[in-house]
Symmetry: C2
Subunit: 197 residues, 2 copies
């Protein structure tokens, strides 16, 4: 634990402020949310928020970095696997679903970032870097003869993550079974929704 972490009263600690802010950003849009809005919605003073962060841009950065750091950590782990690229791509997809569900509000915010501010542009640049890594893995799987070659691997990577990311639009944590969902998505994406007869 870092000594420099500043702590407030329970409910006023950085993690609570961050989670509350992300909820408001997701409901009202990041652009449309002011520090006044955050103060009112979180029921704490602006100075209590400034105790933890320099402003709403820092809250955005902390939030999207949580999602992005998670995605890159998964990417590192699957890169270390000794397995064909298709198996690594499947495992990347499965773990991405689990991460999305575990960090739902943070990933939701990341996917809604537009690029109107420096913090947003930085997040988009990190997303592009992740997308490139997925496309490279898909290209490798195609070259190994395991991924269909009639569609550009970069398009396949986008469609795969389009399917995965769409989960933020409808997944509700209550009663959900993230492991089953992850398997369903990987099955549909890799083997298709048509039943082979």
């Amino acid at each position: 634990m870092q000594v420099s972490v500043r702590r407030g009263r329970p409910g006023h600690d950085l993690e609570s402020v961050l989670r509350g802010a992300v909820k408001v950003f997701n409901e009202r849009g990041y652009d449309g949310t002011s520090m006044e809005d955050l103060s009112r919605e979180l029921g704490i003073t602006k100075s209590a928020i400034y105790h933890h962060v320099t402003g709403k841009e820092e809250l955005l950065r902390l939030a999207v970095d949580r999602a992005l750091d998670g995605l890159f950590a998964v990417l590192d782990e699957i890169s270390a696997m000794e397995a064909p690229a298709i198996a690594r791509l499947e495992e990347l997809a499965r773990r991405s679903v689990l991460l999305l569900v575990a960090e739902l509000p943070f990933v939701t915010l990341l996917l809604r970032v537009r690029g109107n501010t420096e913090a947003e542009r930085r997040a988009l640049a990190r997303r592009r870097s992740f997308d490139t890594a997925v496309a490279d893995l898909a290209t490798q799987a195609r070259d190994e003869g395991d991924l269909r070659s009639d569609v550009d691997p970069a398009i396949i990577a986008r469609l795969l993550y389009g399917m995965i990311n769409s989960v933020v639009e409808w997944y509700r944590p209550r009663g959900g079974r993230p492991g089953e969902l992850a398997v369903s998505i990987v099955t549909v994406a890799f083997d298709g929704l048509r039943l082979k007869r």
Copy 2:
């Protein structure tokens, strides 16, 4: 042509105002855009906008209805097809991609609607009704033995449209080939991205 359509100077007609407004909504978010913002961004007076619509809610309604009317028209057409449910589902998906590309800004706005206002909630209700129709078609395809039965048809419908709708995030009209894209998406979704050996 309706006689009641009010026309302004070129560039100030309803279609131009609507397209301009949708562009601004997509860039800044609907919630974060005021009539003042629209007036400034479109380079026309607020009264020129009010000449055509009662306010930004009506602009939103007109925009999302264009996307939704298109989707329901496709649904009507494929309902009239005499073909197995799986073939109708494929054709619905293919035509949905073409519609998405043809009406890209309108569909983009529809997909970003949150439900903070009456016009937004109405759009969400129409979307849910479309989603239900897709899920019903998927259920029928499963009952006919053509759709995989190890994943809930409602989830399959969501994943299929998650993949299709994600196109708004990266598709660029310049140089795009909508027909090829539609075939690629249908192929990946129905037959999977894995190459069968």
